[in-house]
Structure formats: structure tokens, C-alpha cells
């Protein structure tokens, strides 16, 4: 029953945008999906090697490249965290104390549960060894001898695939003790999540790795000083690690030049919703949204675009006229009033009732709040309850002000960002589509229902 277009094999048309390339002028699939162009099954280690895989790691270990040099390259590449926050990766990696007689841990966050995000799944199931190679290089740079890849609970098949990939890398001598005779050791294990959105938050993830409820920790101390089991820990998103082998092999400049200043490299955009060809599209940062939409086959059935959530459900929604003028990079989306987030582009056509859409999103945050902080635990419940009554045609005149007020009282008053993530959609939906909410309240009905009737 599954659609074969998203299987393991590389299919021209999904990742190879050579047709659109000429039209849009954008390069596609240059970093993480590049080896897929070989047409080989990259879950097989030897196939990955034949596309140049593990050569960067081999060179580093053979030449015993000083970690400082490699770190400088990561900084120069302009790579920023691909999990949502966009923090400069090289800078993050300098926070790990060097030369302490203590274990340092490296953790990969593959717990993608942000609605609209499905890129890490594709990275792992299509090119798992590039992620593993990236993690080994990162571990070498930071002196980490143990690492964990925390994998989203709902993708069991991908977890099993990663278990095999790690075992293969171990058998080939890329993981374990004294890697390739270099004296450097790194053990990597996969940890399977079991259904908690909050574990995508890095300190909740650490708690979960320690075998506890995934409730975020107070920061500071940050994981770089007090992380897994209380040891210095670096956590990065799977896509971030998967960029590293490319940077080492092709050079920091090649990566940086692909994007825009301060927005280096390519980015995988997960495009879902009302497009002809939903899927993952790896394009240079700074690619105009209009081009990305074209790559995804344009609007489904030629419908009119209404709104786009450009970075996952937690970032502000943008109306069609704004997003159509925006480039897909950290700075441009911030300027447009939203965020790049994890690059999770949810496309909505004009048939979508924004009140109903917000009702579903509010339910999500209510369901997934870990319950630790009162403003979030109680506030998310109120947000959902109020949006639901508006949707049911039982809204009150003061409800929109109340929603904004509740949102403002959650945001900034919680240990982690889930509170802000719940508040953001509410404020942005009301800001851009206030008329639709008011219609529900005043007429007790959805304007779209009327149109359909």
C-alpha cells in the first residue's frame, strides 16, 4: 500500500531535478542526496564507498589532521544547525572543553516529530553512512569516544536499517576501537524513541537517553558542560552531521558558496500538503520559495496557494503573497516574519479553513506538552479549547484577544521552547487570517462551507 516513489532507490524526478535545474537555475541534490545520483543502493557500505564515501574520514585519520583545522573548516563553511535553531555548528563545537580527563559524548538528534518534517528519515534510509561518517568526523574533532543516534519512535524500519548500517561500519573498521589503526576510538549506538515530540528538544532527549521521562532540563548548564550522564555533550541534527563529509571532501568554500552569506550550503526542504509532488528537495539555501514550489510540481490540481508554514508547525504561517516573494534561507525567512526551522514546508491551498488548521495544531501542542511547566501544561489546553469553540461556531467576541493573551503568557515563561512553539501558530494565524476567525465568531459558521454550498 505504500507509494513506491519514496522507496530506497534513487529515482530521477524525485531527487534529480535536472529538468527543473535549467528552468530554475538552482542546483539540486549537491550535498546529502548527491551520492544517490550514482543510482546505487547506498545502504550498502561498499556502494557508499564507491561514491567517495568514507574517503574524507580515511584521509583525516591517515594524516592525523589536527582537529582545530577541521573545526576551522566547519566554521568557514557557514554550516548552521539544521534541526531548527540554525545555530552556527562550528561555534557550537568550540564549546566542548578540550583535554579534560572525562568522557565526551556526541549525540545525533534524529527524533524528527515536528509536523511537516521528514528529512532525517530520508537521510537515514537513503544515505545512512554519510550520517555515520559525519558523526565520526565530528567525534574526532571534539574528542568524543561514544555517541548515540536518537531515532524517532514511529520509524521502526529506519531504526532497524540504522542498526545494520552501524554494524556494517563497525565490521569495516570505521567504528569501534582504534579506527583504521589511527588510535582514535568511537563507539556509536542507535537509541529508539517511543513517541514523544518533546524528545526533539535536546535536553529532553538527553533525559530520555538516560532512561527517564523526556522532560527538558533547565539551561544553563548547557549540554556542552553538563550533558549526557552529566558529561560534556554535543547534540546536532542528523542533517547537520550529514553535511560534514561533504565539507571535508569538497572544502568549506564549496559548501559556503552554494548558499548565501551567513546561510551556507544546501538544505533539505520537506514539502508536504497541497502540492503535486510532496517530498524532500535538497537545494541551495536562498532558493526562492516559488522555485521550490515549482520543483514540488506546483499546486495540486492547479489550486490557488493560500498559506505556507515554511519551517515546521512551530514557526509563523505566511500568507501566499508574502511567501511567494521570499527566499528559503534563515535570514530571508526571518525578515519575512517567520523562520526556516527544520525546512518543513507545509503548503495549504485556498480550500483550507485556517481556524480548523489551527485547531488541529493547538491539539498537537496540548497533547505533547510534557506537563512540567504550568503555563505550557495549562495554557496549551486553553488554547485548544478556545480555538475549538470558535471552530464549532461557539466563539465569543473576546476570544481572539484572549487567545493572544494566553499565548503571550505561555511564551517565555517555560523551561523549553515548546511553550513558544504552541503560542507562535496561534498568534500568526490570527494575525494573518483574522477575518476568517472573526467570521466564525460572528456568524457561527465557516466562510468556506458557505462557498462550497
Amino acid at each position: 500500500m505504500t507509494r513506491d516513489g519514496y522507496g530506497l532507490e534513487y529515482r530521477a524526478g524525485e531527487n534529480d531535478k535536472s529538468e527543473t535545474k535549467a528552468k530554475t537555475g538552482a542546483m539540486a541534490d549537491e550535498v546529502i542526496f548527491a551520492p544517490l545520483k550514482s543510482g546505487r543502493d547506498l545502504t550498502v557500505l561498499e556502494n557508499y564507498r564507491q561514491t567517495g564515501g568514507y574517503s574524507a574520514l580515511e584521509k583525516i585519520l591517515r594524516e592525523q589532521t589536527p582537529p582545530g583545522e577541521l573545526l576551522a573548516a566547519v566554521k568557514e563553511s557557514g554550516l548552521r544547525g539544521r534541526g531548527g535553531a540554525g545555530f552556527p555548528t562550528g561555534l557550537k563545537w568550540t564549546f566542548i572543553p578540550r583535554g579534560l580527563p572525562t568522557e565526551v559524548y556526541l549525540v545525533c538528534n534524529s527524533d524528527e516529530g515536528e509536523p511537516g518534517t521528514f528529512k532525517d528519515r530520508d537521510i537515514m534510509r537513503k544515505n545512512p553512512h554519510q550520517l555515520i561518517e559525519g558523526m565520526i568526523i565530528a567525534a574526532y574533532i571534539m574528542g568524543a569516544n561514544a555517541g548515540y543516534n536518537y531515532i524517532h519512535g514511529e520509524i521502526w524500519e529506519v531504526y532497524e536499517l540504522m542498526e545494520r548500517a552501524v554494524a556494517d561500519a563497525e565490521a569495516a573498521g570505521y567504528l569501534g576501537e582504534d579506527i583504521l589503526g589511527s588510535g582514535f576510538s568511537f563507539r556509536l549506538h542507535n537509541h529508539h524513541g517511543y513517541g514523544a515530540y518533546i524528545c526533539g528538544e535536546e535536553t529532553a532527549l538527553l533525559e530520555s537517553l538516560e532512561g527517564k521521562k523526556g522532560q527538558p532540563r533547565f539551561k544553563p548548564p548547557f549540554p556542552a558542560s553538563y550533558g549526557l550522564y552529566g558529561k560534556p555533550t554535543t547534540i546536532n541534527n542528523a542533517e547537520t552531521f550529514a553535511c560534514v563529509p561533504f565539507i571535508m571532501r569538497e572544502g568549506a568554500e564549496a559548501f559556503a558558496e552554494m548558499g548565501k552569506p551567513n546561510n551556507g550550503g544546501s538544505k533539505i526542504f520537506s514539502v508536504s500538503g497541497h502540492v503535486e509532488k510532496p517530498g524532500n528537495y535538497e537545494v541551495p539555501l536562498g532558493t526562492p520559495f516559488a522555485e521550490l514550489l515549482q520543483m514540488a510540481g506546483g499546486m495540486r490540481n492547479g489550486a490557488k496557494l493560500k498559506a505556507v508554514i515554511p519551517g515546521g508547525s512551530s514557526v509563523p504561517v505566511l500568507p501566499a503573497e508574502v511567501i511567494m516573494q521570499t527566499d528559503m534561507d534563515y535570514d530571508s525567512l526571518a525578515k519575512a516574519g517567520s523562520m526556516l526551522g527544520a525546512g518543513s514546508v507545509i503548503v495549504m491551498d485556498e480550500s483550507v479553513c485556517m481556524v480548523r488548521a489551527l485547531m488541529r495544531l493547538s491539539y498537537f501542542y496540548y497533547e505533547e506538552s510534557c506537563g512540567q511547566c504550568t503555563p505550557c501544561r495549562e495554557g496549551t489546553g486553553w488554547l485548544h479549547k478556545i480555538v475549538r469553540r470558535i471552530e464549532k461556531g461557539e466563539g465569543r467576541e473576546e476570544d481572539l484577544d484572549l487567545l493572544v493573551s494566553v499565548s503571550n503568557r505561555i511564551d517565555g515563561r517555560t523551561i523549553c521552547a515548546l511553550g513558544a512553539a504552541a503560542a507562535t501558530p496561534v498568534r500568526s494565524f490570527i494575525k494573518h487570517f483574522r477575518g476568517e476567525f472573526e467570521h466564525h465568531i460572528r456568524k457561527g459558521e465557516c466562510p468556506l462551507d458557505k462557498k462550497a454550498a
Binding site: M1, T2, R3, Y6, E103, E112, G113, E114, P115, G116, T117, F118, D120, R121, A146, Y148, H152, G153, E154, I155, W156, E157, H189, N190, H191, H192, G193, Y194, G195, A196, Y197, S208, L209, E210, G211, K212, K213, G214, Y229, S270, V271, S272, G273, H274, P278, G279, N280, I309, S313, S344, I346, M348, V352, A357, R360, L361, F364, E367, E368, C370
Partner: protein, 168 residues
């Protein structure tokens, strides 16, 4: 440990041991999520006794294992049917017709969210984003097998095929 109904099979315990080996000495607790998953797979669901058994095996207080079992969505704390269907109804799936899929599932099976059919064949649950939105609407069967593009009109055939293939 004495053999009680909560005792796990040798295979399950071996699988748990492999998980324990992933973590540093003295950090057996880190394996609790996997251990509960393995226990649930063997028993079908997690009874309090099963959770306590897992805790004892990992040498952690029973309450800590219980906290984990109640926190994460994919653990079943009461019996479920032979096939547990979990449908994502979050925005990307909803945009592609998950609400209609939900209605079709409920109508065909005659049960609502969180219910099990009287014959013990089917359980229906509403899920949150599974991270596969290009294939929306997405259904996961028995926590392991993902099915994509499950639109309402496919439901009768989909249920038939699950029955024939035992969840696969």
C-alpha cells in the same frame, strides 16, 4: 528471578541484554525504553507486573519504569487488538484527507479512537506526526509497519490486506 507470568522469554531477555550493552557500565536504566518495547512486543501490552519485571531486570525502581511507560505514546498500558492501527491526523496528514480516513476506519471497524473491536482483532488510535508527511495520510500498524497514502477510499482494501498479511 522467580518465574511469574510477567517473566519474559529468553529471546526477549537476550534482546534486552543487547540494548543494555549499548550504554556505559552502571547505566542500565538507559535501556528501559527498549526493554519496555521488547516486553510489549512479547506480551502484547504492558501490564503493571510486566513493567515491574522490566524495572527489576534493569535494577531500577519500578516507578521509574512506570514513568517511562506512561510518558511515551507508543506503549500500551491496556490490552490492544491483534492489529493496532495508529493514524496520524496532524496538519500535513489532515491536508491530505486524514479526517476522511479516520471516519472510514471508524465506520469500517465500528470503533472510535482508543477502542478495540469486541473480537479483539483491531485497535484504533489517533497519532501525532510520524515524520513521513510526503506519504500523508500515514498509518502505522503495531508500532512497526508504516503505510503511506492511506486515503479513505482505500480503507476496505487496506483492512483486507492487513487481515490477510497479519499486519504487514
Amino acid at each position: 528471578m522467580p518465574e511469574t507470568p510477567a517473566h519474559l522469554s529468553a529471546e526477549s531477555l537476550a534482546a534486552i541484554d543487547r540494548e543494555i550493552a549499548k550504554y556505559p557500565k552502571g547505566k542500565k536504566a538507559s535501556a528501559v525504553m527498549s526493554a519496555l518495547r521488547i516486553a510489549q512486543k512479547e506480551k502484547g501490552w504492558l501490564a503493571a507486573e510486566t513493567i515491574a519485571f522490566v524495572a527489576e531486570y534493569l535494577q531500577i525502581p519500578a516507578i521509574r519504569a512506570m514513568e517511562v511507560a506512561t510518558f511515551y505514546n507508543m506503549y500500551d498500558l491496556k490490552p490492544v487488538g491483534k492489529r493496532k492501527l495508529c493514524l496520524c491526523t496532524n496538519i500535513p496528514c489532515a491536508l491530505m484527507g486524514a479526517e476522511e480516513t479516520a471516519a472510514a476506519l471508524q465506520k469500517n471497524l465500528g470503533i472510535k479512537w482508543g477502542e478495540t473491536t469486541p473480537d479483539g482483532e483491531w485497535t484504533l488510535k489517533e497519532g501525532e506526526c510520524f515524520g513521513a508527511c510526503a506519504g500523508a495520510p500515514v498509518v502505522i500498524v503495531n508500532n512497526e509497519k508504516m503505510h503511506e497514502n492511506i486515503t479513505a477510499e482505500k480503507i476496505p482494501a487496506f483492512l483486507q490486506s492487513l487481515k490477510a498479511n497479519n499486519g504487514e
